[in-house]
């Protein structure tokens, strides 16, 4: 189950980064977008709590959240805040994709559900859908 725990830790750390990032993004958003960001922030906090419990239950120590995360680009406008939210969600989708590769069927299913939720949020912030959420282009066959 070592693979399962490390995949869960990776998801937890992506969720922690999202919680931090939505705090940054929210400060630049207003109206319906702010409300959506607050809802997403809450959902990510709930996911962190659930993942923490899942990791603890498997006898491991949940990796703590970092004190701060550096955004991949300057976040100084509503547009940049939305791009950051999309980017964070893409990271969460990719982390859940790792869970889909473990042997445990229940965890695979949990990972696939997590991908769907985050992919819907990513599409909202990006403004478009993509064909292969979470997949690195390098693993797709030509």
């Amino acid at each position: 189950m070592a693979g399962a725990v490390s995949a869960l830790q990776a998801v937890l750390s992506a969720e922690n980064a999202a919680v931090y990032g939505y705090g940054l993004a929210g400060a630049l958003l207003s109206g319906g977008q702010l409300a959506t960001a607050q809802q997403d922030w809450n959902d990510h906090r709930a996911a962190c709590a659930e993942l923490t419990a899942m990791i603890t239950k498997r006898g491991a120590k949940p990796a703590p959240a970092a004190a701060a995360y550096r955004p991949p680009f300057p976040v100084n406008s509503a547009g940049a805040a939305m791009s950051l939210a999309a980017k964070l969600e893409e990271g969460v989708v990719a982390a859940y994709l790792g869970l889909v590769a473990v042997d445990d069927a229940a965890l695979r299913s949990f990972g696939a559900q997590g991908m769907q939720t985050a992919a819907v949020r990513a599409a909202y912030w990006r403004g478009s859908t993509i064909a292969f959420p979470g997949m690195s282009p390098t693993v797709l066959r030509k």
Binding site: M115, A123, I130
Partner: protein, 188 residues
């Protein structure tokens, strides 16, 4: 089921009747080719593999899972084409989603490895969409959203019988399908 890619039948008779001539005609080379494809996949899918001395296995669960996913993707594409033919005024995003489904299909097909010297039989073509698209464009859009949701749910049902790599592809396709459903106005 004459479309088995790895050999005529398995020890437990998964697949249809095999004639003595068919069995005798199975060259050693083909057996080896079938074995190299099927054994690693089966080993991943189930650690307690069946008796390895019992002969070449039938199509692995992996291959069946892949074929089911391909057939489902083809059915969805047929549904989109029928919708666009009946309602050319559907939003441009519908065309985008169709193109993304074509990408899904091509990735799935690229994983269907047919060993050398085995005639690749076509994947069962999907039956025509059960019914014509609804008369109104908005109802058609709703029916596409429903079809996307069922397709995504079916992918989740295939995860347990897939290798890790195929499971990831199926889960990614399912996530894409859910984003289509939401964009089409399918609620949650």
């Amino acid at each position: 089921m004459a479309d088995t890619p790895v050999g005529p039948e398995g020890p437990d008779g998964f697949e249809g009747p095999v004639t003595a001539a068919g069995r005798a005609g199975l060259s050693r080379r083909r057996l080896l080719a079938a074995g190299t494809l099927a054994v690693p996949l089966a080993a991943v899918a189930s650690c307690g593999a069946p008796n390895p001395l019992a002969g070449p296995p039938g199509p692995s669960p992996e291959v069946r899972t892949l074929r089911a996913a391909i057939a489902a993707e083809q059915a969805l594409i047929a549904r989109y084409r029928a919708a666009l033919a009946a309602h050319p005024g559907l939003p441009g995003s519908v065309q985008t989603f169709l193109a993304q489904h074509e990408q899904h299909l091509s990735q799935l097909k690229s994983r269907l490895v047919v060993p050398p010297h085995v005639t690749p039989s076509p994947v069962a073509s999907p039956s025509a969409p059960a019914s014509a698209p609804p008369a109104s464009a908005s109802a058609t859009q709703g029916s596409l959203a429903t079809a996307e949701r069922s397709a995504a749910a079916a992918q989740l049902g295939r995860l347990a019988s897939a290798t890790p790599s195929l499971a990831q592809l199926l889960a990614s396709i399912a996530a894409s399908e859910i984003t289509h459903a939401v964009a089409l106005g399918g609620g949650s």
